[in-house]
Symmetry: C2
Subunit: 203 residues, 2 copies
DNA sequence: GGCCGCGGATGACATTTGTCAGAGGGCCCC
DNA sequence: GGGGCCCTCTGACAAATGTCATCCGCGGCC
């Protein structure tokens, strides 16, 4: 049986290299390409057509989920999985929606990762139980589209005026959205609201 | 010549394990202990007395810099180095002040890391050139002790009243500190001020 | 058609925050 | 002793923000 062809994408050279070395020890796995950014991961995937793509969630250029979305369209035969340091419930949700087959934190062992790659290649799925529990308990976002939009623009602490301009809304409207978003999230003001929404992966 | 005894501390099992495997390939390096948190790193160091401690900056319990500080006091013979994903200028400064001998981003290769460990063991020092440049251009914190303190309490978006209470200050004083801090940082409001100070590693 | 509910928008009003001037006390250094 | 810097506080005013009542348009439903 021919080995599983794997693409590794992670911007941290140290980790990517170490991972490649470890996976190389497995007879049935073959790392055929490595990438340090989202776009590079796409290019490498096109060139090497891997069976499984192991993607870091945070990468320069394009994050793991958007890479997975593109891959799904371009290389339907290529299964994708996400590995990440900071798993937020919303990320998991977005990832699954993008057709990602597995979602694991970087706290898993290399042994386990190898197993996951085999599982995914065989058509299976896997989601870290703890992340899954978080995602379920966090539930769906109670925010409307506009609320989330405005909340995102408020993310870097910009004043209302700037948010209003960037969203092409009146300042009053922006304030209402922020207010209702904060109420829904149980926050005292928009800044804590932003933080909470981020923690739950809703922005 | 006996090998360099190395302690690896990183909360991401995947990376720690992979790293250990890679370093094991070097004849002159010996990973004698691994830890997944700050306190565990300290305990392992006490038990195994490594020559060099490779510490992740972000760990549960206690971050790399505080571990380095404790190690310096308890095991003066143990050299410390920090490896991190997100290098902020202020972290570098704090690390050097704590007696850390090397500071590198996780984008370095394992080969390079092995070299660094040897350099540090031999008494040398190393700072990633890019991080060093950032640190120099960022300069010293213009904030007074209290300003930084209040700014930190403002970190999670709490209202002034709460900050004042937690800092045991009058609300007016808090507002003044936040205002002057924001002015010094060139921010429009305290929230962007917090963000900027965080980026520069001043809080 | 008429009615209801809902997301979206607006303006008015109250509260919070930012800014400024000033003032007293403590500390260090010349 | 004097000067300078920081800490703390106060009071007052301007600006930003939060809250609320209300209105509009749209789709579903009786």
């Amino acid at each position: 049986m021919s080995p599983v062809r794997v693409l590794l994408a992670d911007d941290e050279h140290l980790i990517r290299g170490a991972l490649a070395a470890l996976l190389a020890l497995e007879d049935d796995l073959l790392v055929v390409a490595e990438a340090a950014s989202g776009p590079e991961a796409l290019a490498m995937a096109r060139a090497h057509r891997p069976d499984v793509a192991v993607l870091d969630l945070q990468m320069p250029g394009a994050d793991g989920v958007s890479v997975a979305t593109s891959l799904r369209a371009e290389l339907p035969g290529c299964r994708t999985m996400i590995v990440t340091s900071h798993g937020r419930p919303g990320h998991l949700k977005r990832a699954l929606a993008a057709g990602v087959r597995a979602f694991a934190p970087k706290t898993v062992s290399a042994q386990r990762l190898a197993e996951l790659i085999r599982t995914v290649h065989a058509g299976g799925r896997y989601v870290d139980p703890e992340l899954a529990a978080d995602a379920i308990s966090a539930g769906d976002s109670p925010l409307t589209v506009r609320e989330a939009e405005v909340l995102e623009l408020a993310g870097d602490g910009a004043p209302i005026a700037e948010i209003a301009e960037r969203a092409s809304l009146s300042q009053g409207t922006v304030r209402n959205y922020l207010s209702s978003a904060a109420t829904k999230l149980g926050a005292e003001n928009r800044h804590t609201a932003v933080r909470l929404a981020r923690e739950r992966g809703w922005v």
